[in-house]
Symmetry: C2
Subunit: 344 residues, 2 copies
């Protein structure tokens, strides 16, 4: 196409995003925050409007051979709501654009929208627009979520302070482990179509993969507890990657403890069965859609016995880097693997 | 997929949109207008926030064998800005999601974003977010535009009143005719790659196809003239289709005059050369991105001599239907062809 050809694979997804960001100038007076957080922030007078968008491609983000369309529709909404939650906001509207080929029937589209509408009801958002178009190959879903947040309640990735406590909601690594089980069953099915999938003992982790939920309940609960997180991000690419985002944006280092990572027993047991390390799944698996946030030490008493909020570490000086204290008492660097779509 | 299989082609794009719309409930107190106009309308306190979204797919909406990526990026922004203009609003931000395969180089992506950034500058909008992902086949671009409008200045499709004057900006059918020329040159090139494309005499119509502009200038000019259109829609699918939308939303019939349709000489001449009727191109060609709007008769004097606003007809009783008086003085029904992506 051009005389100099640089391959995208040499840049990577994060490199590409950084390059795009560098070319962008924001001048509009209503733009408070552009690229670089979970959602863009727009000044709407007495409050902020939040905008977040995601694109899901068949063959990259989902495999219709084991993902029911209703679940897919639900998840597509949930992952966008999760970005609004990460700004401590409340979602209000979404737009849904879909590209589809004539291999899809009307009944299939109805199933997809049944999931989308169910998620709209669960998260109290209105579907207000979108686009439908034909696709030359697979299904494409692009969703934009709109939300709202008080100006004094917004949480950015950048607000963590020295000695703040690192918290995560729920548990980690389950969605990744569920995906491994689904992939294994698919291979078994392809080899022998007579075989019925054996998923009963994996019900929790499979559900975590297929039916993601945004943690709006945590946003509301923190408010009730009188806690304003100092920083927040949602865990979509994996805890490791998100910790590095938070560290970079806040200009601080951090330390977490491997034995504090919340990992469900089913995730752990399945990891053992599949010879996959559950700590690695928690750090790099992704698609957890839990919230990672920091709170001031003065809020410690309010959460220390909370069933669903786990204290996994603390912020320290930038020079100390981003570290994990392992169960064997070693201090190792946290690295981001993220997704490597562009290498596919 | 399901036991009953209904083909999407039997429903058509408009039928599919209607079906999706029927399944949607809007409950949120801030949702003023959901699906069914050029943009969704959200109450933001002292003003309305507008949201519009479009998805462009390679092989459906554009052909990279003759569409330069910079032009494509510019157009992708412009078509969304056009939807905000149609609500009498001003665009403020956009998000851009792209799906791309490793057949694209970094230089190609830079060219695409050069066009996107140029359009952001031209329309004074900030690029505030998006998503980049891998695609298994072609390029996918999904853009969401955010805009703002005073509560007393918003124009819906539904506001046209009896005897209001129908107006269009610019000229019609040129983008469609430009596309026919580009398609012809592509076929010539495929047959004989030695041939150089002969596009000089088609410069205007080719530019109308490749470098669409949103008519923000008309929005600002109407304001300066002290005109608040009673209804407005942008012409993306073709004048015929948009007239029917406006008629249906406003609950009225309408009549236009064939000899009043603004058609550029180059469009007309090229139509003659290619044996394509230029009136049909104006009615059904699409991609003009001009504005179709109605004004009260009391505003007639303000626009009657305007160079770039053309009075093409008037609103009448619903029972009289949607008609065009032809040059031969026949009264014919206006029909919508729209796009037929789903039949592809």
């Amino acid at each position: 196409m051009a005389e100099n050809r640089t391959e995208l694979v040499d840049l990577g997804e994060f490199g590409l995003i950084e390059r795009i960001e560098k070319g962008v100038k924001t001048n509009g007076e209503s733009t408070v925050k552009g690229i670089g957080d979970d959602a863009a922030v727009i000044d709407s007078g007495d409050h902020y409007t939040l905008i977040s968008t995601d694109m899901l491609m068949e063959g990259i983000h989902f495999d219709l051979s084991y993902v029911p369309l209703t679940h897919l529709g639900y998840k597509a909404v949930a992952v966008n709501v999760s970005d609004i939650a990460a700004m401590n906001g409340v979602p209000t509207q979404i737009t849904v654009s879909i590209g589809l080929s004539n291999r899809f029937s009307l009944e299939a589209i109805d199933a997809l929208y049944a999931g989308i509408n169910a998620a709209c009801e669960a998260y109290k958002v209105d579907l207000v627009g979108g686009d439908t178009t034909s696709s030359t190959s697979g299904l494409v879903i692009s969703i934009t979520a709109i939300g709202t947040v008080s100006k004094d309640k917004i949480t950015y990735r950048s607000g963590a302070k020295l000695n703040d406590i690192l918290c995560v909601s729920g548990d980690l690594g389950a969605a990744y482990m569920g995906l491994q089980v689904l992939e294994r069953e698919k291979q078994v099915f392809l080899t022998n179509p007579e075989m019925q999938p054996q998923l009963e003992k994996y019900d929790y982790i499979v559900q975590r993969q297929l039916k993601a939920e945004a943690r709006m309940d945590i946003v509301h609960e923190l408010k009730e507890l009188g806690i304003l997180p100092t920083s927040m991000i949602d865990i979509s690419d994996g805890l490791g990657s998100e910790l590095l985002h938070l560290s970079k944006a806040s200009g601080l280092g951090l330390q977490i403890f491997e034995d504090k990572l919340p990992i469900d027993k089913q995730t752990y047991d399945t990891g053992f069965e599949l010879t996959l390390d559950s700590t690695t799944a928690a750090l790099n698996g992704g698609e957890d859609y839990e919230l990672l946030f920091t709170i001031s030490q003065t809020d410690f008493e309010k959460v220390k016995n909370h069933q669903d909020i786990h204290l996994i570490g603390f912020m320290h000086e930038k020079e100390k880097g981003c570290k994990m204290a392992t169960k064997g008492d070693n201090l190792v660097d946290i690295t981001a693997q993220g997704w490597s779509h562009l290498k596919a």
